[in-house]
């Protein structure tokens, strides 16, 4: 097996340069076979006094083969999988037990399995460079740090210090890794790595413990103590409940990580490793992990690689962007653009308003400054990019203008007419809207082919998604430019076609209105709101609708009716409409109107008693399972309709859009991926059941039966 050969120098130090075929070194069958052979030779070679583990790639070691794992069949292969994972652990253990010291020479990213490989070494030296990232990010992919990551880091650091790295998947650059103790040494130049590693081995020639891990020495005590320490017990107890609150009991990997870390406190290394391996297998075969890996890894990469971006157009860069409207959305768009190094002209009706919009960025920068994330120079640099103005002429020369004014057709038309001329030749006009049709908005434009919808989410600086909406006449070139801009500001773009509510608003709307329908039917409003959280929504539909504002919903519906976009008598959730109308009539317009479903006093929200008095019927009962499924299936069905009607162009956009934009529970892997692991036939059957009980709107769109008949999944 090539890629695992070692060279011995005159001092007897062997350097294993891992250089597997392909762009990275990964933990797969080839690796195991190659390393097993190398370890055997090293063991049998009497002249070897130490081993340096190095990489022939830009990264040190990429760890587990995520692609290989996701391809694993779910059931029936548990034994095979377990043996495979344990073989890897045994291999690492054999390296760890070599009679001579092993030093990891970390020249690039050592993440996940990469860092786990260094943990079996006796000493870790890294090149002090920003490209050298260290950490165990498995938890963020729905997995756990197998390969001894949980067990060894817990034994090395103790529970309290290990948990943040294990549970949060925190990744740090080499300097920080040294500071916290993840590695032992750094060198300023990559050329110093091997000499320094060899030197360390020679320096420790007479140290009998240099080749022995601390946890393999008799009497080793884990830092911070074990379960006999009340502080450790307290930490376990409170960490458990915090994890329940965080995962709502829906994501198996983090509770499992904590459990295995605790087992590592109690048990010897080899036994704990077995438990860790079995835990990893349980995740690999679980539908939740499948969902999360499919969305967070494969589909996210697909989107970032530009599957939804039309081909044949050179990558465009925005040098100057105009943002019209310095309200909540406009100031956020200005912020993220400036952060990406783009010159921004922020225009509002008055200079004062525009300056207020710029001050928003200043506020965010001050916070970052306080945290030490940026320095004063960087702050000034970013602020210098934003020019507030009340004058359209300042927009001259913009490659892109994003209009982010109030959701009124006439107003948006007027602004388009006034400012469009300031764009450079071939410049793009973007409109930020969540409800108005792009095709209609584009009517005011001289060139609707260069007009596109850019639906940002609030707060813009924190929400990763931008929904790009193509009007009827939006050109492919314009779409490609819009796509490139979204990537330029480091956001994730999905691309949808023009339709009432596009994809995200329409889908979240279905969920909100289904929740409201149930309150209208007589269920306790808190039960409805909290059960949405129970299946993983960030907040319940009533809380969310209070934030959006009930009054806005009525205004939007009115506008859409007037525009002929929705018709009277087509309402499948009439009780929800009645509820909202009645509440608004009673002055309960939403949070910004002093209260809606909830009262808001001193920052605390309590349910409005009137809602219970007027709507709650204690004798009316729906099972918890049905309540949850109604609120989950409503957006899932809406997503499928968007796919079926061609509003969505890809399954990946559906999943990533629902996860990043409208809070789809992480365990679903997105509202369409959910069906794959739920089972297509089971989904159709459950839809039928819900349709029979609660209305035809729950019938599964025909696309599901079509996929089923074709023996396919939604990919």
């Amino acid at each position: 097996m090539s890629g695992f050969a070692y060279e011995k120098d005159g001092d007897g130090v062997a350097t294993v340069l891992i250089d597997m075929p392909g762009s990275v070194n990964v933990m797969n069958a080839d690796f195991m076979e190659g390393m097993e052979g190398t370890i055997k030779s090293l063991t049998e070679d009497p002249d070897v006094v130490g081993v340096v583990l190095a990489s022939g790639k830009k990264t040190f070691f990429a760890g587990g083969d995520v692609k290989g794992m996701a391809a694993m069949p779910g059931e029936g292969y548990n034994k095979m999988l377990t043996q495979g994972v344990m073989r890897g652990c045994d291999l690492f253990r054999a390296l760890e037990k070599l009679k001579v010291p092993v030093v990891a020479a970390i020249n690039g990213a050592a993440l996940g399995g990469g860092y786990e490989l260094t943990l079996v070494c006796n000493h870790r030296i890294a090149w002090d460079d920003r490209s050298v990232k260290i950490g165990l990010p498995e938890a963020t992919l729905g997995l756990l740090p197998g390969g001894g990551g949980i067990v060894r880091l817990t034994k090395k650091f103790g529970l309290e210090k290990a948990l943040p790295f294990l549970l949060k998947g925190k990744v740090v650059p080499a300097a920080k890794a040294l500071e916290v103790g993840l590695i032992d040494e750094t060198v300023p130049s990559v050329d110093d790595l091997l000499p320094r590693a060899k030197a360390w081995i020679l320096e420790h020639k007479d140290d009998p413990n240099a080749a022995v891990q601390p946890w393999d020495l008799p009497g080793y005590e884990i830092p911070g103590g074990d379960l006999s320490n009340p502080a450790v017990r307290g930490l376990i107890n409170s960490s458990s409940f915090k994890l329940f609150e965080e995962t709502r009991g829906l994501l198996p990997n983090k509770p499992l990580i904590l459990d295995i870390a605790v087992e590592s406190l109690k048990l010897d290394l080899d036994t704990a490793l077995k438990i860790e391996s079995r835990g990893l297998v349980s995740l690999i075969i679980s539908p939740v992990t499948k969902n999360m890996m499919s969305a967070n890894f494969f589909q996210m990469n697909e989107i970032k690689r530009g599957r939804s971006r039309p081909e044949g157009f050179e990558r465009a860069t925005v040098n100057k962007v105009g943002v019209i409207g310095a309200g909540m959305m406009g100031q956020g768009i200005a912020n993220v653009s400036a952060m990406a190094g783009i010159e921004v002209v922020l225009k509002d009706v008055s200079l004062e308003n525009a300056e207020k919009g710029k001050a928003y960025t200043e506020g965010l920068l001050n916070k970052a400054l306080k945290k030490g994330n940026i320095d004063e120079a960087r702050k000034e640099e970013i602020l210098g990019l934003i020019t507030p103005t009340d004058n359209n002429a300042d927009l001259a020369g913009c490659d892109l203008i994003v209009e982010a004014v109030f959701e009124k057709l006439e107003l948006k038309h007027q602004i388009t007419e006034e400012a469009e001329g300031q764009l450079v030749d071939g410049g793009v006009w973007g409109t930020n809207t969540s409800t108005l049709p792009i095709t209609r908005l584009a009517e005011a434009s001289k060139d609707p082919s260069r007009f596109v919808g850019l639906h940002f989410f609030s707060p813009v600086d924190r929400m990763a998604l931008v929904e790009i909406i193509c009007g009827e006449q939006t050109s492919d070139e314009t779409l490609a430019k819009a796509f490139d801009y979204v990537r330029q500001i480091r956001k994730t773009p999905i691309v949808v076609n023009d339709n009432v509510g596009f994809f995200t608003s329409r889908t979240i709307g279905a969920q909100i209105w289904e929740g409201l329908q149930m309150v209208g039917e007589g269920l306790h409003p808190l039960r409805v709101d909290n059960l949405a959280k129970a299946f993983g929504m960030p907040v319940g539909p009533l809380t969310l609708h209070d934030q959006i504002s009930l009054r806005l919903s009525i205004d939007v519906a009115k506008t859409q009716r007037e525009m002929g976009l929705i018709k009277e008598g087509e309402n499948s959730r009439p009780l929800a409409t009645e509820l909202v109308n009645s509440l608004v009539a009673q002055g309960r317009g939403g949070r910004s109107y002093g209260g809606g479903y909830y009262d808001y006093t001193d920052g605390e929200k309590t349910i409005w008693p009137g809602l219970i008095e007027q709507y709650y019927r204690p004798d009316f009962e729906i099972s918890e399972e049905d309540i949850k499924d109604r609120m989950l299936f409503a957006p899932v069905i809406e997503s499928l309709k968007c796919l079926q009607e061609g509003v969505l162009r890809s399954v990946a956009d559906a999943n990533i859009g629902s996860l990043l934009g409208i809070g789809a529970p992480a365990w679903t892997g997105g509202y369409v991926q959910f069906i794959n692991t739920y089972g297509l036939q089971r989904f159709i059957d459950r839809c039928d059941e819900l349709a029979e009980r609660y209305g035809e709107r729950f019938k599964a769109p025909t696309i599901v039966a079509e996929k089923l008949a074709a023996g396919e999944q939604f990919v």
Binding site: I236, N237, F244
Partner: protein, 402 residues
């Protein structure tokens, strides 16, 4: 063959604060319980070789309470070597579980004479120091949503819509009743002073009671489980109660059972053995039951257990003269009275664990002595004893005078 389990006597130690400053901290748990065994022996001139088994509740059976303290105690007390001993753990109900188990054995006819009771030196072995699944097993804690009992106690208050004033008023009344009973000698028949090896008294009567407690005074105490809002415990418990907005945290040291040291022992046997040994029965155990309820709220078992016990005994609520519910928390007693629709006038007539403390493994058998004494004093017939139990269980026992 006997068909009844007779209570020949019931004794207990006084209870004292379960801290290093408590009067009983200097006494080993084995000495606490052995003092009661010797008292039973001397009161009745008991031929201890006739005792089949000593069944003792103990919730933290480690360190000074480890290695089967029941058998150790029989030896330590100088009882006949033929007496066996077993320690059991049904959490807070262990003492009553010991009484029920001994009674069942007597009724079965397999064995004739038992001591059932319990011991807990909470000052020496703090609650939870034995560790275990509900202390440090994340898989269980998360999977079962096993929040601490105080969260459940506050959840009961929230569901019932009670207030801090309601639970504090209950606590004040418990103090008043306990002080009145102690000061008027209602406990004297049962309470055996704890003495040192030289016969010098260490503690004669309950010293945990605070008769001057007022609602206003209690209102100054901080709610003990308010941290639940911060550390995920409330969210965990509420996931089972979606209709509840947030938990109203009202319990504190003053309206929850006190942490104390103490022990108890009840002599239970068949009619025949009583006849043989010249013992006069003071009462009998009519029935005893156990059941499980929703584990996260944990503390709602006593009401259903009492109902089940009535059904087993073939009795009605009207047949019960006095009710005794362990005051683990004020809300537990209040919920019990509400569930059974019984009056506070006939419930916990001499106060309870809020005033006198709850030495976990011992309390159940203490309730037997308290009720037996009171039935005799009032010349009444029957009492129901109930307790909430960790993990979501309820235990109940009916005793009657004969």
């Amino acid at each position: 063959m006997s068909s009844h389990a007779y209570i020949y006597d019931a004794v207990r130690t006084p209870r004292s604060k379960g801290k290093a400053t408590g009067a009983l901290h200097e006494v080993k748990p084995i000495a606490l319980i052995s003092g009661l065994l010797r008292e039973l022996q001397s009161r009745h001139d008991l031929d201890t070789s006739r005792v089949d088994d000593v069944i003792l509740g103990c919730v933290a059976p480690i360190k000074d309470q480890g290695t089967n303290i029941a058998k150790c105690a029989t030896q330590y007390a100088g009882w006949d070597e033929r007496v066996a001993g077993v320690q059991l753990n049904r959490f807070c109900a262990s003492g009553l579980e010991a009484v029920n188990t001994a009674s069942q054995k007597v009724v079965s006819g397999w064995e004739q004479l038992f001591v059932a009771g319990g011991v807990e030196s909470m000052s020496r072995i703090p609650m939870g120091s034995d560790g275990g699944v509900v202390v440090f097993d994340p898989e269980y804690l998360i999977g079962q949503r096993a929040t601490p009992q105080g969260i459940g106690a506050d959840l009961i208050v929230t569901i019932e819509g009670w207030t801090r004033e309601d639970v504090d008023a209950y606590a004040v009344e418990s103090q008043r009743r306990a002080a009145h009973a102690r000061d008027n000698g209602y406990f004297d028949k049962s309470v055996v002073p704890v003495k040192d090896h030289n016969g010098v008294t260490i503690l004669e009567k309950d010293d945990f009671i605070r008769p001057d407690t007022t609602v206003e005074g209690l209102s100054k105490l901080r709610a003990s489980f308010a941290y639940g809002t911060q550390n995920g415990m409330d969210a965990t418990a509420l996931s089972k109660y979606p209709q509840i907005e947030k938990i109203n945290h009202v319990h504190h040291a003053g309206n929850s059972s006190g942490i104390v040291d103490g022990a108890s022992a009840v002599l239970i046997g068949s009619e025949q053995v009583g006849h043989d040994l010249g013992l006069t029965p003071r009462g009998r155990v009519v029935a005893g039951v156990i059941l499980g309820t929703e584990p996260t709220i944990m503390l709602t078992g006593p009401g259903p257990a009492a109902e089940k016990c009535l059904a087993v005994a073939g009795l009605k609520k009207e047949d019960i003269d006095l009710w005794e519910i362990n005051e683990a928390f004020a809300s537990v007693a209040m919920r019990y009275m509400k569930d059974l629709d019984i009056d506070h006038e006939v419930t916990n007539v001499n106060g309870g664990a809020i005033a006198m403390g709850h030495p976990l493994g011992a309390t159940g058998a203490i309730l037997v002595s308290t009720m037996l004494d009171e039935l005799e004093r009032r010349d009444l017939k029957r009492a129901m004893l109930s307790m909430c139990v960790g993990g979501g269980m309820g235990v109940a026992t009916i005793i009657e005078r004969v």
